[in-house]
C-alpha cells in the first residue's frame, strides 16, 4: 500500500506538525519507503495469535486511591513558556 501527498498532508495535521508544501513530496517518499518495509508483516501467519499487551506477564500494581502529592504550583509552572496568575497561558481557544 502506498500513500499519496494528500494522505501525508492529513497525517501531518493529525500529528499537529506543520509541513510546508515543498516538504510534502519528500515526506511522502520517506513514508512509502518505511511502509513498504512494514508491508512484510503481511506474510506472517498470525491466525489465532493474540496481540501482545505486556512483554512480561505481570499484574500492574495497584495503590490506595489517596492524595500523595500536590501543593507544588510554582514547580509545576516553572518550565512553562507562558504562565500567568498561576495558570498555563495559551492562545484563545473558545471564541
Amino acid at each position: 500500500m502506498s500513500i499519496d501527498i494528500e494522505t501525508a498532508r492529513k497525517v501531518a495535521h493529525l500529528a499537529r506538525i506543520r509541513v510546508e508544501e515543498a516538504e510534502l513530496e519528500p515526506l511522502t517518499h520517506d513514508f512509502n519507503a518505511i511502509l513498504g518495509f512494514i508491508e512484510q508483516l503481511g506474510e506472517v501467519d498470525v491466525a489465532g495469535i493474540e496481540p501482545m499487551v505486556s512483554v512480561t506477564p505481570m499484574r500492574l500494581k495497584r495503590r490506595d486511591d489517596v492524595v500523595t502529592d500536590g501543593d507544588q504550583q510554582a514547580r509545576v509552572l516553572a518550565n512553562a513558556p507562558d504562565a500567568r496568575e498561576g495558570f498555563f497561558a495559551v492562545p484563545k481557544v473558545v471564541e
Binding site: 497525517v11 493529525l14 518505511i34 496481540p51 500494581k61 495503590r63 516553572a78 507562558d82
Partner: protein
C-alpha cells in the same frame, strides 16, 4: 600531560578509594580535565563541574566518616541527556526541550546518587533516542574516538547512546548511563569497544526518563568491562512504585555472580542471524566467540528463531506508534519551546508551529508514521498485526529457553562504525538495519549485553551480543565475563582529540 586517573575501571577506583589511596575529588578533577580537552568528541553537551565537585567532596567526607561508604561512592559518571536530572538541562537532544530544567530526578539517577555516584554532566544522543548514529541530535554529532587506520574520517559512535559510548571509550568518565529501545546501548557499545547491557524490561524504573516507546525502553549501564557494568547495573535496578511496569523482584548481587565458570551452560546459535550482506569479518568473529564459549566448557547448540526477519518491521510499527502518543506532550504549553505566533494564530497553529520547529526530521517522520499506523482504518492492518508478530517473536525465544538454552550468542551489529554523513543519502530503512541483531531483544523484553571481542581489518572494534533469559542478568553477566576473559580485548583508541 593528561592524568591517567580517568582511565581507571570503576572496580579499581572503588578499591583504591577504599584503601585511602585516591580521593573522589582527585578522580573527579582528572575527569573534568579530560572532558574539557575532548570537546572535539562532542560527547558531554552539558557539563556540571560544580555539581560533580560538590558530590565528590561529599563522597570523600562520607568515606572519612564511615567504613561503609555506598557502592559507587565517589565514582564519576556521565548521564545520557534522556534522564531528567533536577535543575540540570535534560532535553533528550531535542530543540523542543530547549531550556527545560526538570523539577525532579529520574529514579535511576537518584539511585546512582544515593549510591554515592558523581555526575560529570549530560551526554549527547540521538534526538529522543531515535537514531543509530547520533546524527539526529540538536547538539550536533557525537564523534567516535576510534578512527580507521591511516584515515582521519570522523566516524559515528553509534546511537542513540552515542555520547555515552564516546565518553566511556575515550576515558572521559568511568561509566555512563544509556537507554536502549531497539539497540541504543548495545550498538554504540559495539562501535566503541566498550561493554553495555540492556536489562530485562522492568528491571530499571523508567520514571523520569524521557519516554520514546514505553513498552520497549529500558535503561542500562555502559562501561569499560563486564564487572563495571555489573556494579553499575546493581545500583540502577530495583522496584519503583512510580513506574507501574517496574518489577517487584529482588535484585541479585551481580558482581558476585562473576565467577567465569560457564561449564555445563547451553549457548544457542540462531541460524536466522546468518544474514546476507554481513561482512565475513563479523561472521568470523561470531564463530570465534562460539569457540571461546565452547572452550570454556559451554555446550553449543544450533537453534532457530524463525520470526527474526520480521523483528525490524514490527519494531517500526510499534516504536513509532508509541512515540506518537508519548511525544504528544510536546505542545508548547507546559515546558520547552513554543513557536512565535502570528496575529490571529490559535491553539492549533501553536501546536503545529511549535512541533514543526522543535522536532528534527527523524522525529517528525516517526511521529507521523506512528500517527498513520494508529489512525482509523489502519490500526488493525498495521498496529494490531505488529503486536501479534511481536507475540510470535517472543514465543520463538520462550521455546528455545524451554529447550534448555541459557544464553544466545549473536553478532552485536552488522558492521563496524561507519563514517558520519555516510548514510545521509540512504533511505531511512537503511539506517534502521543497524539494529537488526539487537531489536529482537527489546521486542521480547529480554536482557542483552554487547561485549567487545575483536578488531576489523581497518582497526575498528567489533562486538558480540549475548541474550539471556528474563530476569537472569546475573547468569548473563557471568557468561559475558567468560567471553570477555577469552576474547581479551584490551585495545584503546589512539588519542587524536
Amino acid at each position: 600531560m593528561m592524568s591517567d586517573l580517568p582511565k581507571m575501571k570503576i572496580a579499581e577506583a572503588r578499591d583504591a578509594m577504599r584503601r585511602g589511596e585516591l580521593t573522589s575529588v582527585e578522580l573527579t578533577e582528572a575527569c573534568l580535565g579530560a572532558i574539557d580537552a575532548a570537546d572535539a568528541l562532542n560527547a558531554f553537551v552539558h557539563k556540571t563541574p560544580e555539581i560533580a565537585l560538590d558530590q565528590a567532596r561529599q563522597a570523600d567526607e562520607r568515606r572519612k566518616a564511615s567504613e561503609e561508604a555506598p557502592a559507587l561512592n565517589g565514582i564519576p559518571l556521565g548521564v545520557k541527556d534522556l534522564f531528567c536530572t533536577r535543575g540540570v538541562p535534560s532535553q533528550a537532544a531535542s530543540k523542543i526541550l530547549d531550556g527545560f530544567r526538570p523539577e525532579y530526578e529520574s529514579t535511576v539517577t537518584r539511585q546512582l546518587f544515593d549510591n554515592g555516584a558523581v555526575m560529570l554532566g549530560k551526554l549527547n544522543m540521538d534526538e529522543f533516542a531515535m537514531g543509530s548514529s547520533n546524527e539526529t541530535s540538536t547538539y550536533g554529532n557525537a564523534v567516535n574516538p576510534w578512527r580507521r587506520r591511516q584515515d582521519d574520517a570522523a566516524l559515528t559512535p553509534g546511537g542513540s547512546s552515542g555520547g555515552s559510548a564516546a565518553a566511556v571509550a575515550a576515558d572521559l568518565c568511568l561509566g555512563a548511563t544509556g537507554t536502549d529501545t531497539g539497540g541504543s546501548i548495545r550498538q554504540p557499545a559495539a562501535f566503541t569497544g566498550i561493554t553495555g547491557i540492556k536489562p530485562t524490561y522492568g528491571r530499571c524504573s523508567r520514571w523520569g526518563i524521557v519516554a520514546f516507546a514505553s513498552s520497549l525502553d529500558q535503561a542500562g549501564p555502559m562501561a569499560r568491562d563486564v564487572r563495571d557494568a555489573a556494579i553499575l547495573l546493581q545500583a540502577m535496578c530495583g522496584h519503583d512504585p512510580l513506574d507501574s511496569t517496574s518489577a517487584d523482584l529482588p535484585v541479585p548481587d551481580f558482581e558476585a555472580a562473576l565467577t567465569g565458570d560457564i561449564r555445563g551452560k547451553t549457548i544457542g546459535i540462531p541460524r536466522e542471524y546468518h544474514m546476507d550482506g554481513i561482512p565475513d569479518e563479523i561472521e568470523a568473529l561470531w564463530a570465534q566467540g562460539r569457540q571461546m564459549l565452547a572452550d570454556a566448557g559451554a555446550k553449543i547448540v544450533d537453534i532457530s528463531l524463525p520470526h527474526t526477519k520480521y523483528a525490524l518491521p514490527t519494531y517500526y510499527v510499534i516504536a513509532p506508534a508509541e512515540a506518537s502518543s508519548n511525544l504528544a506532550r510536546y505542545d508548547g504549553v507546559r515546558f520547552g519551546h513554543r513557536a512565535k505566533l502570528a496575529q490571529g494564530d490559535g491553539i492549533t497553529e501553536m501546536y503545529e508551529k511549535t512541533r514543526a520547529e522543535g522536532f528534527g526530521n527523524e522525529v517528525k517522520r516517526r511521529v507521523m508514521i506512528g500517527t498513520y499506523v494508529l489512525s482509523a482504518g489502519f490500526y488493525d492492518a498495521y498496529y494490531n498485526r505488529a503486536r501479534k508478530v511481536r507475540a510470535l517473536i517472543k514465543r520463538d525465544f520462550d521455546e528455545v529457553f524451554a529447550q534448555g538454552v541459557d544464553a544466545i550468542l549473536t553478532p552485536a551489529t552488522p558492521s563496524a562504525a561507519f563514517g558520519l554523513g555516510e548514510m545521509a543519502d540512504a533511505d531511512p530503512v537503511q539506517m534502521y538495519l543497524n539494529d537488526v541483531f539487537t531489536v529482537t531483544v527489546n521486542l521480547a523484553g529480554l536482557p542483552g549485553i554487547a561485549v567487545p571481542a575483536g578488531l576489523d581489518g581497518q582497526g575498528l572494534p567489533l562486538g558480540l551480543q549475548l541474550i539471556g533469559r528474563p530476569w537472569e542478568e546475573a547468569d548473563l553477566l557471568n557468561t559475558a565475563y567468560a567471553l570477555e576473559r577469552a576474547a581479551q580485548f584490551v585495545e584503546k583508541p589512539a588519542r587524536w582529540w
